[in-house]
């Protein structure tokens, strides 16, 4: 009896030692499947049914009806346009600001470390905190922006009242929050340039402009592409900041596609339709990502040639 028990003990120990890797990964995988992969597949299935989460009706299989409906919905195309506008301006500004910050922090100056930490802080704050902060910042009666304008013109300034102002407000907040991310990547590139190349360029009497384009830029090009990729995907999904600052208003002028998905899902309760729209969104991001990767690979291939 006891011999058999020992034998079993030995088998378990052997099993554990032989499968230590898979066993260690299992809990994390389980959580991932439960929280991410299962809902993902479930909602994918749902997008082919007619189903509303706030009704008791049985889901009805409708093939691609939801997709057809959404692609023919002018609202969807309008939100896509808004999103495209936000993404292009937002990412461009982040690149410019991030780049300038990186150039600033590349050199050593007193207080650099402290300043660098302050500049990196926005990135670490939660979206809700940043959103709330900017909502108060733009607030008409006691908001800082309005007060500042009032001190000059004598009149209060309601930034979020006009579509353009609201867009600017949302974009400014996002740029403030994420430029440091671009800066970090660019800074990494700048630091990786071997110092002796600059010295050689100095001896070769190169102008600062040429030095930048022929020596510095090739080292940051890859990281810059990465920054564009990350920031574009993120900006494409922009929800929190816009929702908290403007709730998509005035009208629908700052209603990004992510906010629209939210409205369709949880305000209109067209659950299966929102799932379909969500998948269209996912598809768009995947296409975008692959487009970038394609260009990066092409570049790399040219480099090697």
């Amino acid at each position: 009896m006891s011999k058999r028990y020992q034998h079993q003990q030995g088998l378990i120990a052997q099993f554990i030692s032989e499968n230590r890797g898979p066993l260690l990964v299992t809990p994390a995988l389980a959580v991932l499947v439960l929280m991410n992969i299962f809902p993902l597949l479930w909602s994918f299935g749902l997008s082919f049914f007619k189903y509303r989460a706030n009704r008791l009706n049985e889901p009805e299989f409708v093939w691609f009806k939801n997709y057809i409906k959404i692609l023919n919905d002018p609202n969807v195309w309008d939100r896509f346009q808004t999103t495209a506008l936000v993404v292009s301006i937002d990412v461009l500004l982040q690149l410019i600001v991030g780049f300038l910050l990186a150039l600033l922090f590349q050199s050593q100056f007193p207080g650099r470390r402290v300043l660098l930490m302050l500049v990196l802080t926005p990135m670490m704050l939660s979206f809700v905190a940043v959103g709330a902060f900017f909502r108060y910042y733009y607030e008409p009666t006691f908001g800082l922006l309005s007060q500042a304008v009032k001190a000059i013109t004598g009149e209060r300034y309601i930034l979020l009242a006009t579509p353009e102002g609201a867009l600017a407000g949302v974009i400014f907040a996002d740029v403030w929050m994420w430029s440091p991310f671009v800066m970090l990547l660019v800074l990494a590139g700048l630091v990786s340039v071997p110092k002796h190349l600059y010295e050689a360029a100095e001896i070769d009497r190169t102008s600062a402009w040429r030095r930048f384009w022929t020596i510095t830029f090739p080292y940051i090009r890859g990281l810059l592409l990465l920054a564009i990729l990350f920031r574009t995907i993120e900006a494409f999904k922009l929800f929190d900041l816009a929702w908290i600052i403007t709730e998509g208003g005035p009208g629908t002028s700052t209603e990004t596609i992510a906010i629209y998905v939210y409205r369709v899902a949880f305000q209109y309760f067209k659950t299966s339709e929102s799932a379909a729209l969500g998948y269209i969104l996912l598809f768009a991001v995947i296409v975008l990502t692959n487009l970038y990767l394609f260009f990066v690979r092409k570049r790399a291939a040219e480099e090697d040639a």
Partner: protein, 365 residues
């Protein structure tokens, strides 16, 4: 014209004194070699001349003009870095053309000049490739090409052969001499390798611990090293340094080595300035030691072979004589006759030897 004078150049890096007063002059068109062990200050000296390091004190004068405050770009100096510092994202052609682009030279002329230099250095076939795909020798040639393409008045070379293999080094040494003759430009060449220094330099400045200790022609450097440190640096293998004591008993002064007694008359120097008991160092090149045959009149002593190192044409013998370890160089045919552990008799002409003071290490003249 390109005459260069360094006058008391001092450079600190924090608490470390990299250059402790460097003085030397380089004449127009000269091939000047700075020889020194690693971390002696060779690179710092070149960088100071190029303007990449700010001096703490001293002057660098180029054709009568003090270079203080004159930026790197305006010094008319080119430099080949130890790491080559090729622009990794540009092709060979673009790398070569790089220094010309800023000179408002016509595109056609640049192309011609690039072609000319590439042909001269034998890298025409690499023009469309990037540095990473070039061999070490090709990278080296490219680095040189980029430095000489705009015909600088002064070319600085910082250990350019250190990263190459032995065969390439040999070829490139000849190449440098040829380039120097063809281009006629002033060159300053830093190296830790005595062979490079002796074979290429018209004059060699030995730098040790941030100070130039000797400037001489290669022959004089080999013959009469300024002190013990220089003697250890020059020659392959370097000079044997043997402790000796001056003796004065009876028949005139003599030098007592651990394994041999050498009368004053046989030595190059007079022992008159030294009291009895003065400790000196006797230096003799391994090439000046010979295997003794019977009936020799020269000084000779017994030694035991510790190791033999055949090198093809010659063999280096590591000897133990009394308590001393010596090295000698013999032709391969002779070396082959002897093996480790064997007792041999070694002869030499004491007149070929040099005396150094024990305390300061300085050569006795």
């Amino acid at each position: 014209m390109a005459q260069l004078i360094l006058d008391g150049v001092v450079k600190h890096f924090g608490k470390i004194e990299a250059l402790r007063g460097i003085d030397f002059e380089v004449q127009d068109g000269e091939f000047f070699v700075i020889l020194g062990p690693s971390a002696a200050g060779k690179t710092t000296t070149l960088r100071a001349i190029a303007g990449l390091e700010k001096l703490d004190s001293g002057r660098i004068v180029f054709d009568g003009v003090d270079m203080a405050g004159i930026p790197v770009q305006q010094r008319g100096i080119a430099m080949v870095f130890q790491s080559f510092a090729l622009y990794p994202h540009l092709t060979t052609e673009q790398n070569l053309a790089y220094p010309l682009r800023e000179q408002k030279m016509a595109r056609r002329d640049i192309k011609l000049r690039v072609q000319e230099i590439a042909e001269m250095l034998g890298i025409t076939h690499t023009l469309t490739r990037k540095p990473a795909s070039l061999s070490g020798g090709e990278q080296q040639r490219l680095a040189i090409g980029r430095a000489i393409i705009r015909q600088p008045e002064l070319l600085l070379l910082d250990e350019p052969l250190t990263n190459l293999d032995a065969k390439l080094r040999h070829d490139m040494r000849a190449e440098f001499k040829r380039l120097h003759r063809e281009l006629g430009m002033t060159m300053i060449y830093a190296t830790p390798d005595q062979l490079e220094a002796l074979s290429m330099g018209e004059r060699v400045g030995v730098i040790i611990d941030g100070k130039i200790v000797q400037i001489d022609t290669p022959a004089d450097l080999y013959d009469a090293p300024y002190d013990r440190d220089v003697a250890r640096l020059v020659g392959d293998p370097p000079m044997n340094l043997i402790p000796g004591t001056v003796r004065r008993n009876g028949g005139g002064p003599s030098l007592e080595l651990p394994f041999l007694h050498v009368p004053e008359a046989d030595l190059r120097n007079s022992l008159a300035p030294f009291e009895a008991g003065t400790e000196l160092i006797f230096g003799v090149h391994p090439q000046d030691l010979k295997l003794a045959t019977n009936g020799e009149t020269e000084a000779s002593f017994d030694a035991e072979i510790a190791i033999t190192e055949p090198q093809g044409d010659i063999t280096i013998l590591d000897l133990k004589a009394a308590s001393e370890v010596l090295q000698m160089v013999v032709p391969e045919a002779e070396g082959a006759l002897h093996g480790a552990g064997e007792e041999i008799r070694v002869r030499f002409n004491p007149r070929d030897g040099r005396l150094f003071l024990k305390d300061s290490g300085v050569l006795v003249v």
